[in-house]
């Protein structure tokens, strides 16, 4: 294996570790959002839909646009717009960019798109926890 290949593997491992560590940190916060969401009229297909979108898209903006549209359409304020939950979630997901920035700064990496890609991965992790907690709490109720 060449030196460059070894460096790439080491970088990939460091990146995965950093993302996994952050993912564990998000668990509690995602649980709080799930608590709030079970108090709305949302059902699991809608929350799972958001998780599926996050895991399949290559853009963070697709996730926040999806949420913005749902907040905007919820004129009865019973689902994504109830008590500002959707707006808080948009802000939360956009705020994960700071974590992505810190992770990338800790690596000797020159790919200018890496921060964005890590941000997307962090959004996926956060929403994965959120959807799992939501389904669990929904079942408990």
């Amino acid at each position: 294996m060449s030196e460059q290949a070894v460096q790439e593997v080491a970088l990939r491992v460091a990146l995965e570790r950093a993302i996994a560590r952050k993912s564990d940190e998000y668990d509690q916060s995602a649980r709080q959002y799930a608590y709030q969401l079970v108090g709305t009229k949302l059902d699991k297909t809608q929350v799972r839909g958001l998780e599926t979108l996050a895991s399949t898209t290559d853009k963070v903006s697709d996730i926040t646009d999806w949420l913005k549209l749902r907040v905007g359409r919820d004129s009865g304020r019973e689902r994504w717009a109830k008590e500002g939950i959707g707006r808080d979630l948009v802000n939360e997901l956009e705020g994960l960019r700071n974590d992505a920035k810190k992770i990338v700064q800790g690596l000797s990496q020159v790919d200018p798109d890496l921060e964005r890609q890590v941000h997307l991965r962090l959004c996926r992790e956060f929403l994965k926890h959120l959807a799992a907690h939501f389904e669990y709490l929904k079942l408990e109720r």
């Binding site: 290559d58 853009k59 903006s61 646009d65 913005k68 905007g72 004129s75 717009a81 798109d113 964005r116």
Partner: protein, 151 residues
């Protein structure tokens, strides 16, 4: 660069561009927040979204927007006319963005032609409009609420 490499690089470049430009499209929507959703209705925005999604050429999008501006002018709604004209300008300027992106994405067969440029311009316009519509609708319930509160 192989065809597959090109397609992957193109997809990544567009994703990166879209994420970068979301804030700019949101600023455009914010600058016209007073017109939403009464003067510029949700139905008009959905109409724009449908045209952008189904357009084959960038010219189709521009024609729709020009038509909206003309309708607003005939109805004496100059603020609405100004919205559509400004949107036409904002989307028109994306052509230079498409040109810049094309330079970083050399086609496997050689230099990009006019059709590639138009296709990319149409795609960028589609991404911009997606952000614009999402952000425009996003603030509508809050705005309606505060209007009700003022009454």
């Amino acid at each position: 660069m192989s065809e597959l490499e090109y397609l992957l690089k193109r997809k990544q470049s567009l994703a990166s561009w879209s994420d970068r430009w979301q804030a700019k499209a949101a600023r455009f929507a914010d600058s016209y927040r007073d017109l939403l959703p009464r003067r510029i209705t949700n139905a008009q925005l959905y109409g724009l979204g449908n045209v952008v999604r189904s357009a084959w050429r960038y010219g189709d999008i521009e024609r729709f927007i020009r038509h909206q501006a003309e309708k607003a002018e005939r109805a004496g709604r100059l603020d609405v006319q100004s919205y559509w004209n400004d949107l036409k300008d904002a989307l028109g300027k994306l052509r230079s963005e498409a040109q810049t992106l094309l330079k970083t994405l050399p086609l496997p067969s050689g230099a990009g032609n006019r059709e590639d440029l138009d296709e990319l311009h149409r795609e960028l316009a589609g991404l911009y409009v997606q952000h614009l519509i999402a952000h425009s609708l996003y603030w509508t319930p809050a705005q309606e609420e505060s209007r009700k509160g003022e009454k």
